[in-house]
Symmetry: C2
Subunit: 633 residues, 2 copies
Amino acid sequence: LLIGSPLATAEAQGEAIGKVIGLAVFASDALSSTAYATQEMLVVLAAAGAAVFGYALPLTLAIVALLAILTLSYEQTIHAYPGGGGAYIVSRDNLSDLAAGTAGAALLTDYVLTVAVSVSSGVAQVTSAFPSLLAIRVPLAVTLVLVMMIINLRGVREAGNFFAIPTYFFLITMFATVGVGLARYLTGSLGTVTQPPPLETAQSIEAISLFLILRAFSSGTTALTGVEAISNGVPVFKEPRARNAGITLMCMSVILALLLVGITFLSVHIGAVPSEQETVISQLARTVWSARPLYLAVIAGTTVILIMAANTSYAGFPRLSALLAVDGFLPEQLALRGTRLVYSRGIVTLGLIASVLIIVFRASVTALIPLYAIGVFLSFTLSQAGMARRWAKSARLQPGQEIKGEHSTLRHDPRWRTKMLINSLGAVCTSAVTVVFAVTKFTAGAWIIIILIPLLVAFFFRIHRYYQAEKREMSLERIRPAPPIRHNRVILTIGRIHPAALAALRYAQALSDDVVAVHVATDPEEPERLRNQWHTWADGVPLDIIDSPYRLVLEPLVAHIKELAEQQRPDEAITVVVPQLVTGDLFDNMLQSHAADFLRLALFFTPGVVVTDVPCQFDPSDGSGKERSENRK
Amino acid sequence: LLIGSPLATAEAQGEAIGKVIGLAVFASDALSSTAYATQEMLVVLAAAGAAVFGYALPLTLAIVALLAILTLSYEQTIHAYPGGGGAYIVSRDNLSDLAAGTAGAALLTDYVLTVAVSVSSGVAQVTSAFPSLLAIRVPLAVTLVLVMMIINLRGVREAGNFFAIPTYFFLITMFATVGVGLARYLTGSLGTVTQPPPLETAQSIEAISLFLILRAFSSGTTALTGVEAISNGVPVFKEPRARNAGITLMCMSVILALLLVGITFLSVHIGAVPSEQETVISQLARTVWSARPLYLAVIAGTTVILIMAANTSYAGFPRLSALLAVDGFLPEQLALRGTRLVYSRGIVTLGLIASVLIIVFRASVTALIPLYAIGVFLSFTLSQAGMARRWAKSARLQPGQEIKGEHSTLRHDPRWRTKMLINSLGAVCTSAVTVVFAVTKFTAGAWIIIILIPLLVAFFFRIHRYYQAEKREMSLERIRPAPPIRHNRVILTIGRIHPAALAALRYAQALSDDVVAVHVATDPEEPERLRNQWHTWADGVPLDIIDSPYRLVLEPLVAHIKELAEQQRPDEAITVVVPQLVTGDLFDNMLQSHAADFLRLALFFTPGVVVTDVPCQFDPSDGSGKERSENRK
């Protein structure tokens, strides 16, 4: 099940990558959003009729302006955090635990939605080319999510070259589409979409309003999701890492801006209609290319990059969970980065929640979008605000002075004023978008995220509180000398006399000279028979019988042990030894009585009592099993 | 949570009851089915149009004849099994394990369906009187099921007097309705239903066919569900138990027959229309009684007896589970009759499955019926066949000779020929009904049960096979002498040095002189720091460091211990001691690393290794917790 060899600590870094491969690895999330951003703006504008689709172009330009600010902001983050500076790390380093928890919650929801939205959009591209698949889009999308889950469970080496092919294939097909489209537009030969899908609008057409425009803008901002990916991945770049990563970010943003403006411009011009039947990208591609193979190439490129974008979440989600766990915001077990099991859990969690979202929202990108960008922009805001605060701190340092942090080194920066201004501007703009998004999309689904994120943060802090307490209680200062245990009283629980009981007796006798067997009798005739057998097999070890008129078995035993525990002196301990049958079969093991587990739970809070189960292995499928457990004897 | 005092073994019998109370306790299941049997026949006949509703009367007479045969059959069972003879016990005693398993599976599904059908029908009565509740019938029914579940979890003393009131209230109101109805029919003043609900039929009306008639008959046989209840409950009757129970059964059957014929006759006569909007009982009641309070009394009586019928399953389901567990067909834990926990699980299982059924079938009695009677009639068949076989065996005994069984004593019976004939007739008739039901209702839902019962039987036998193997392997003959353990090698697993680790060290030192601490290092800088601390706190006990370049923690430890286990001599044992933090809070406990549980699972099949976790209790809510765990020192 858990295939793939583990990576050694030294190897974990992997091979450093250059700018060309770096773009391929980190850009899929950002670039793939061009596949739905234009369409989602048009969907909103459709409420005021197709006549106002022209508004999409100025809105796209506003989004490009926002992208420019974000790019400058993140370029600074990359240089400040050459070890990788995601929103969570930047918030925790420069703001507060609360901000970090909020960023963590926002990012985790974001990873899930990236999977749901990207896969839904990918499936929408496929069903545009093959409308007969429209009826099965939900199972198709869920299957894709689960296949990716299984592939990631088996372990993917994130080989950069593997990513390069589809990313550059997408870029070539999409730039060719936009380029040829523009050329045909300029020569007047482009025309409009033939047989566009019907426009699904409300009965009465709304008048265009500021609210509607802001809502369309909000939908368009989903184009910016994924811009932060490179800032997380700085350490994998070749030296000079920060410089290379920064240049890659710039390139990515320029490409994103060009595609976004080109696609929106052409889509409006050809009269593309936003629809669940056929995506705008599909309408654009078939208008630009008359040859079906070329059209299919565009669809294939778009689908593949969307799937790749979804795939990035499968790496990001467990990685962020591990980071949160290291800081005590999630169970510490998740911080054991090495064990594949931990990543497996994250991958399965992500795959299942994304599947549920796809089923609930019928694989509709339009239905999922209101949940999506709010987490992204919240994390943008926290990250930029954290950076702004960082420059303010840096101003207070003397030149040459350094503060070494866990993830970065803070130095005086003579240009801190400019840098702070850029990050502050980024924070203000992204926070404005967050608010606009929350308000305009509230009833459409954003309310879910607005409720969910604080709940997640509260959950993180509940966990954090426990680990703080554990750290406090389990510190070296809390250690007090205790007298050594001079007397270990061993209580052996006996049901019937059989090989497992005698194996437990043998072990019990190795622990201490003071062994007493205890049997709970629910049947008045039982004790006499048992006592006779016991004398035959365990001569010398006393047998206590506890009468249980109420036919309870475990409860009287627990009461008996608790009574003994209360009487014990500081240099005594009680060990409860329980025979436990074991077979190799999981189903069989469920059938065995797990008395030890029950006793352990019941006695966990009784100081000085230890419950031990002595396994006796046997093989139920044949008579030779007993021999295996004899090996030990 | 688990309220209600446990019953002592001696008390379990309870007080013996007479015939009047006995009828009230055991008749609710059978009598309540008159609330839906007539209607379900009419629903099927409706496919051929309202003109053929008249067929319902002869069909009812056929069902009454079947009832007579069943009653005679069960009267014999009661006398043969004065200790209680359900279909499971009778099949196991007289047929085979396979027959017993089949009866068990049929009865378990039957208990679940009794809850779903009775509650759905009860809700249908209420919504007939208050049509505004129709929209919430599903949540209403689920709430009822869950409320019953909670009441039963808290423990109900099955007080006979408590049952008498609603049963006799139902009988009075229903007999009054039928009586007055007949009187008004004879005087010609009855008339027909005013404003009956619309008849929901298919577009084209079917011709009446034998298949349709058999389908209607099958639906009507649901009236006979519950007839077997008294034969299960013989032991609670006053002496002479068998005689009293037998007379009660006769009374119940006569009442059932009278009500069934009366209700069907009047319903057809007044032109009642089977409908999900208004039950036939409601239409009959409001036609007979012009005063609404009297009408509401009938509705209330019917609803309450239906709820009581559902409630009988809450006692029967866990009781049968315990019986199956005693015989090794279900996990032995379920056989610990005394622990309330076991009954609680059965009650919760029953409540949840019934709720799911109600939700899936939209609380529609008509939709649930095809699943219902097949299990009932299958168990009738097995029970009667078992009795027939029993008489054949009894014929081979000499007068005065006895074979004492677990549940009954087999004696020679001079009238064995007649008795065998009666039970054989019962078996033949009920098996014919089973087949007719399975065929005519197959596509409507019976297929679910036809698939489910064999699966359940296979599941029972899979469990049975394990317990047989356990019995064989864990017999006294399998015990072979083993040398005593002379050397217990203790391995203490250490993560960080903290109070819990030192408590575990202290316990480990009490077990053996040979204690070695082991630490898995995932970080190259860790071992040096740990070694220094260890020397301060645990001078003398050696510390082994296992390097883990792959950052795995538990896997290298398991490999290390397995290696040691392979080298050990027959008189050695290995004990792995693991520190375990414990708090009183369930949520906190999920946050702790449960390394011991993991190690135990991983080492369960390694002979000679015992894993012990040493709990160290602390209270995360304040700083004083440490003192509590100090008590032991």
